[in-house]
């Protein structure tokens, strides 16, 4: 049944194409980097591989945010925290792999601990010398935090802006905590100077290509998972909570459980994105907890189109490519551009690029149907058919507020 839906037309076909492209990129780009000689026109330089790999991690983070914001209406301003926690879990594994090759050559303690006069490894660093343990922690730590946080927040019906602000406070509190030297996570320098991952040199081209392929495949997997969640009966429930939470509750559903599941899954996805990100950029520091980073993720999703699966990926890639270009050419103007983007997207592109494209296509189709109906001589007063599918998938259509401004909740 699921395969039938997978190859159907419309939005589902778009998901299939995205997954196909991602998998193809995962194979082709490493090949072009490793197997093609560096003089060839098809050669992909290593820095492009690293850069695009980073963007794919961002895209995964944006997709994670889209699951809660676009489909469940929870605007989380703290997804950067889950991303960074996943990153720290991976960073701790990479730190332990350095072994005695650090500056101080201590076989047990990472450099910063020697520097800060630690006698022995803190208890929460135990186990991170095994990859499997670190991999579990990458999933468990962000997931657990999101579960506990969400359980408290959704149970007491903290919604809308209040939830956004307390998620922001959460990442701010974590930022302050990780900046402290005695937290045992490297203070404001964070974790860096990595050597090996699974026995391979993180600086080597082959490893970078493998990490890139892993990011692309993971993103493809995440797209599939999101699509499966959203398309299932549970996905309908998610959107019902987004559009009319009280009504869903009155119909007998536990809205808080619905939200909690989406929030936790999303946090785990963000954690994985962080874990893939850290070996590719080679550092993780508390700056990743900055509330402004989390808000930037929101604008990626908004630019691409929230409530669509492909939109956030496109948004993350476009905005970050723009950021790289701007900071190279006109560094002083990047923040102007980013700020303008926030304003412009909310004012002129509320559904994002993909949403805009859909409604433009939908309108064209409806107009065509109307003109056909007119030629056939049916009643021209019949309003053009509303595109139910895409309407149901973009927020705001069912809960459209009137033109009259209303005080917020």
């Amino acid at each position: 049944m699921i395969t039938g839906r997978f190859f159907a037309a419309g939005a589902d076909r778009r998901v299939a194409i995205t997954i196909f492209i991602l998998l193809a990129v995962a194979i082709i780009v490493p090949l072009l980097n490793l197997a093609v000689s560096s003089t060839s026109a098809f050669y992909v330089p290593s820095y492009v591989v690293a850069l695009t790999g980073k963007y794919l991690c961002y895209a995964l983070l944006a997709l994670a945010l889209d699951l809660v914001w676009g489909y469940c209406g929870i605007l989380s301003l703290g997804h950067g925290a889950f991303f960074a926690l996943g990153g720290y879990a991976m960073g701790m594994y990479l730190m332990r792999q350095i072994g005695s090759r650090g500056v101080y050559g201590n076989p047990l303690l990472p450099d910063f601990m020697v520097f800060l006069n630690y006698r022995e490894l803190p208890w929460f660093w135990y186990g991170f010398d095994h990859f499997w343990f670190a991999a579990i922690m990458v999933l468990a730590v962000p997931g657990l935090l999101a579960f506990v946080f969400g359980w408290f927040a959704f149970r007491s019906r903290v919604t809308g802006v209040y939830l956004s602000i307390i998620t922001q406070a959460m990442t701010y509190a974590l930022l302050l905590a990780f900046f402290r030297n005695d937290m045992g996570f490297g203070g404001n320098n964070g974790l860096t100077d990595f050597k090996d991952i699974l026995g391979f040199n993180v600086q080597a081209d082959a490893t970078r290509s493998a990490l890139f392929a892993a990011s692309a495949v993971t993103l493809a997997l995440a797209v599939f998972v999101t699509w499966a969640i959203v398309g299932s009966k549970y996905g309908k429930l998610l959107m019902a909570v987004r559009d009319a939470e009280s009504r869903t509750r009155f119909l007998g559903w536990r809205a808080e459980n619905v939200k909690l599941f989406a929030f936790t899954v999303s946090a785990v996805m963000a954690g994985i994105a962080g874990a893939l990100y850290v070996p590719q950029v080679g550092i993780i520091n508390p700056g990743e907890f900055e509330p402004s980073n989390s808000i930037e993720v929101v604008v990626w999703a908004a630019v691409g189109g929230r409530g669509t699966i492909v939109g956030p990926i496109i948004g993350a890639l476009l905005v970050n490519a723009g950021k790289s270009w701007f900071t190279g050419v006109l560094p002083a103007f990047w923040l102007f551009a980013l700020g303008g983007l926030f304003v412009a997207v909310t004012l002129f592109l509320p559904k994002g690029i993909v949403g805009m494209w859909d409604s433009w296509r939908g309108n064209a189709r409806a107009l065509r149907a109307a003109s056909i109906a007119e030629e056939a001589g049916t009643d021209p007063d019949v309003p053009p058919a509303k595109i139910v599918r895409s309407a149901a998938r973009t927020p705001g259509d069912w809960s459209a507020s009137g033109p009259e401004p209303q005080p917020a909740e």
Binding site: L75, F152, A153, R155, S156, R157, V158, G160, V161, Y162, S164, I165, I166, Q168, A169, M170, Y172, A173, L176, A177, F179, R180, P291, S292, I295, V298, V299, A302, A332, F333, L335, F336, L338, G339, G340, L341, F342, V343, V345, T346, L347, P350, G396, S401, G402, E404, P405, Q406, P407, A408, E409
Partner: protein
């Protein structure tokens, strides 16, 4: 006629005062001349004592110079001078008047030698001299020095000074200094116990450190007395510490109140999530900076008025920017709070970068006017003037805002539009105008908060960033839509924060407060002073 007679009398009196002093000056010079003939330390010490015994404050100069090794004898005529390094040789100053009296090469003069015993004698002599000073402040300073460096030889001059003292507060200080000296002397135990009681009553940190050394160096009843007095002092000091923490908390609370009160209007009353609020505060601070720069370069005399001048300007600047934001962005987003949040975040980025481009990314120097610098003590509490003024100012702003909201037609319209927009529009209220002006008011208040915060914080483009989360916490904690809630929220958060700091450290204290608020919102999602009724679900 009476007037002229009074002048004549004053002149006569002045003359009468001058003549004996002239006579005394000749005596002093005679004594000082003995330095030239004094051949060893004990002889010099005798001269010092003789000088001190005159009780004339004019001998301070030569004695201080002697202690610093700057008293010289000219070899040609055995005259005594105070020396001062200058040019090639040494400049000679008259030992009493301090007037310049030529210069000499190093070889032509001999230094009056000094050792540590002598220095101590000089210090005691100087302390005794200042005890008789005419200026009460000098006497207080002398008493304080003697209290900190107690010496048995101080007791007699102190006794004399106490007998002559007329000002009660200075007398008390002198008695404490005497008690401190008694404790290090070999007086009988009863005297020492009385001294401990006197010092214990003083009850500050100096008294505590003095008693600690007494406890360590004595035994028997004196030791027990010192221990008991220390315990008493410690308990009063703990109370003062709590008081100091409360004051710090109130001070932090006033800063939070200033930062949050504009937000209480835009977020609390209008329901607009304005993430650019912190940038309004920053604009106010930068307005202060510009005003001070203009005053420094053009009207230096007006510097003490700079903040008063900056206040209305900051209000206008921030209110104008707020008006532009409301008309240009926010009015299209009413009823969509999450979009408003994102758009205003974008605006905040633009404002920050604009300020960074114009003024540069570094901190700007904003000075304190003279009436805001310095501090004073209440008991053991140190209160700085700028913190006190900010507290007063924040309460004034709060009162004015409360008045505007509750007692003016404009406030009535604001509340009407918030309560029921359509009904208000039907009654003839121009709701778009009210929206715009309310938002401008909230922004303007943030601007004048910036003027105050420029006095206690770094003025940099990131100034607003630091306050935005705290401000939201205050408003959410206090209860949205309730100005009193904001007041209580700001002060309770400030005080809790400062009480946690000593135990948890500044950063951890802040984290604990954030976690507490997050937990608190779980319990009362609508804040401390929640609005009840239909407004909640609007």
């Amino acid at each position: 006629m009476i007037f002229i007679r009074a002048i004549g009398l004053t002149l006569l009196l002045l003359l009468g005062m001058l003549l004996p002093s002239n006579a005394a000056e000749a005596d002093l010079r005679a004594i000082i001349a003995k330095f030239a003939t004094a051949s060893n330390f004990s002889a010099i010490e005798a001269v010092v004592h003789e000088l001190a015994a005159t009780g004339d404050r004019a001998v301070e100069r030569p004695l201080a110079a002697l202690a610093e090794g700057r008293l010289y004898v000219r070899k040609t005529d055995s005259l005594v001078f105070v020396g001062q390094d200058g040019g090639g040789g040494i400049e000679l100053l008259d030992p009493l008047s301090g007037e310049k009296s030529g210069a000499a090469a190093k070889g032509d003069i001999a230094k009056v030698k000094v050792n540590n015993t002598l220095r101590r004698a000089i210090r005691d002599a100087l302390g005794t001299l200042t005890l008789g000073a005419k200026d009460p402040a000098a006497r207080i300073a002398a008493a304080a020095t003697m209290f900190k460096t107690p010496d048995a030889t101080n007791i007699e001059p102190l006794d004399a000074a106490i007998a002559n003292e007329t000002v009660a507060s200075v007398k008390a200080l002198l008695e404490q200094a005497r008690a401190a000296s008694v404790l290090v002397s070999d007086r009988p135990e009863a005297d020492k116990l009385a001294a401990i009681a006197l010092i214990g009553a003083r009850g500050d940190r100096d008294a505590l450190s003095l008693l600690t050394s007494v406890e360590a160096n004595s035994e028997g009843t004196v030791k027990d007395g010192a221990t008991a007095a220390m315990a008493k002092i410690n308990s009063t000091l703990a109370l003062w510490d709590a008081g100091q923490n409360i004051w710090y908390g109130i001070s932090l609370g006033s800063v939070l109140l200033l930062a949050a009160i504009g937000l209480a209007i835009t977020f609390g009353v209008m329901g607009v999530i304005n993430m650019a609020h912190g940038e309004m505060v920053m604009l106010g601070a930068y307005t202060t900076f510009v005003v001070q720069e203009v005053i420094r370069s053009s009207f230096p005399g007006l510097f003490d008025w700079s903040l008063v001048i900056a206040l209305p300007l900051a209000f206008l600047v921030a209110a104008f920017v707020g008006l532009v934001i409301e008309r240009g962005v926010i009015r299209f987003l009413y009823g969509r709070p999450l979009e408003t949040l994102l758009a205003t975040w974008g605006v905040s980025l633009i404002l920050q970068q604009a300020v960074r481009t114009i003024f540069g990314p570094t901190n700007q120097e904003v000075g304190n006017p003279s009436w805001m610098s310095g501090s004073f003590d209440i008991g053991q509490l140190a209160v700085t003037w700028n913190r006190l003024w900010i507290l007063v100012f924040s309460l004034c702003v709060f009162a004015v805002l409360l008045y505007v909201m509750k007692r003016t037609p404009w406030g009535l319209q604001m509340r009407a539009v918030t309560a029921n927009r359509r009904m208000a529009a039907s009654m003839g209220i121009r709701t778009p105008w009210v929206d715009a002006l309310t938002f401008a008011l909230g922004s303007g208040i943030a601007g004048i908060a910036g003027v105050a915060l420029s006095q206690v914080d770094n003025v940099s483009p990131n100034l607003g960033r630091g306050y935005i989360i705290d401000s939201f916490m205050v408003v959410v904690f206090g209860g949205v839509g309730n100005l009193w809630g904001t007041l209580v929220g700001a002060f309770s958060l400030g005080i809790v924060n400062k009480f946690l700091e000593p135990y948890a450290g500044a950063v951890l204290g802040k984290i604990v407060v954030l976690v507490l608020i997050i937990l608190f919102i779980q319990k009362r999602p609508r804040g401390l002073f929640a609005l009840k009724g239909r407004a909640v679900e609007a």
